[in-house]
Symmetry: C2
């Protein structure tokens, strides 16, 4: 089911600035029995991203009601929320009083092979390098052509995710995931001040590590450092946690830190 | 009037990748009596941009017919063409067989004050710096949040356009225009290999200068060089040619090169 501004619909006006300029933000999350998981992480991120673009954020209660409507009757499903600046006239200048468009839709959870979570995945290094744009970095906005072009680089279905580097050979994340490495029982994840998307599950991992006194550094992560790590794992709200089993010329055995993080996230999932 | 895939409509499906990811391209042009101006420049640009993103480009004849339909009966109007990768399922991976969406719509020509063309405009320097992304540079794609944020920087209606710099202090263009400078009877325009949008009117100016043996350099243009120029002018298909009269702490008198370029473009407009 799709709700557009609260009404069942499967279309939006052509003059919506979300289409014209990618002028909006989105989030993807899991819902169990109509209840959005990790909502205390998801909504603040949506609110932050709307605010960064100057788009009024729909109230949390309204979105929760709409999530329940689109997800009702499904034991579990994926929910996508899109908030755009709404309709606009020709030209880049945002309207003085924008009337945001709100889209809430449900879809089946993607059917990933079980062994992705159990034994890890094969990943590839994308050749596309993410551009630096501090004004948009971290925001889950609708300008996602870099992700589309990166995802298009491989067709090999044995490759589950592609890693993206910036122009200075730092790893930023996957095309649809955030990345963590573990070296000597210490975590690290890329700083997203210049590019990349800050997912809600990344925040959950950071909170979970902090609560358990596991040090986690947030900084630039050169590819050389990532390749030397004891474990590398990728996270997002739909996949949960995937360890990387194979990347470039290296392989990794299942690691205990990845297992612990997955266990803790599952435990705290609400 | 708006045509979506040839049918009168004012909406597109929510699952269109143009909305989800800005996965598409567009062009804006003038039509006189239903006839698109500078079509021999516009269509190849659309074709090039579609090709750069791997989107099948609608045939020229089909688009011309649709432009005539939306612009019919109007002495003059603006026409916007949007081509997206079309509907898609969840996820960045483009569908194996994409069915592009084609939107052709008309609007009144924006009512700019007459003296913009006659006496020049006041411009501002935007603080947002364009990010480098060689894979998308030059393409008029739907990921336009940088332009939206830059255009949002000023509300002063006496300022007609904002200039965008890259991270290395080069001028790349205006938020909606391409830029040329003239120094000692020689033109120069920013190279757009790392960021910026290559408009059809920029190509027309380059062709027009070449035909008249006026040298035109295409290269990085540091702000310091732009500020020292004898003339600076901005171009796009809707505004034509605007000279900059005032920028930062400098003013310029109307210049002869800008007038000649405007005259030639008008003369060759078809």
């Amino acid at each position: 089911m799709i709700l557009v501004n609260g009404a069942v619909s499967d279309s939006i006006p052509v003059n919506d600035r979300g289409l014209a300029y990618g002028d909006g933000v989105f989030r993807t999350l899991r819902a169990h029995g109509g209840r959005p998981l990790s909502w205390p992480y998801q909504y603040p991120k949506l609110e932050h991203d709307c605010s960064a673009l100057g788009i009024p954020c729909p109230p949390a209660a309204l979105l929760r009601t709409e999530i329940t409507r689109v997800a009702e009757g499904e034991p579990e499903c994926a929910v996508k929320i899109v908030v755009t600046r709404g309709p606009g006239q020709r030209g880049y200048a945002p309207p003085r009083e924008s009337q945001p468009s709100r889209i809430v839709m449900s879809a089946p959870i993607p059917a990933y092979p079980d062994d992705y979570a159990k034994s890890g995945i094969k990943a590839t290094l994308c050749s596309l390098r993410l551009g630096f744009q501090p004004r948009l970095a971290g925001i889950k906005h609708l300008n996602r052509l870099e992700n589309v072009l990166a995802r298009w680089e491989w067709r090999d279905s044995s490759v589950a995710e592609g890693l993206l580097l910036d122009a200075e050979d730092n790893v930023v994340g996957g095309t649809m995931t955030n990345l963590f490495i573990c070296t000597n029982e210490t975590l690290a994840t890329p700083d997203l001040a210049r590019c990349g998307v800050a997912g809600a599950t990344r925040d959950r991992v950071l909170a979970c590590a902090a609560a358990r006194h596991i040090p986690c550094r947030v900084s630039s992560l050169p590819l050389t450092e990532v390749m030397r790590a004891d474990e590398i794992f990728l996270v997002n709200s739909l996949i949960g946690v995937w360890q990387i089993r194979e990347l470039a010329d290296r392989t990794w055995a299942p690691g205990t830190m990845t297992q612990r993080i997955r266990y803790w996230l599952d435990e705290e999932s609400d």
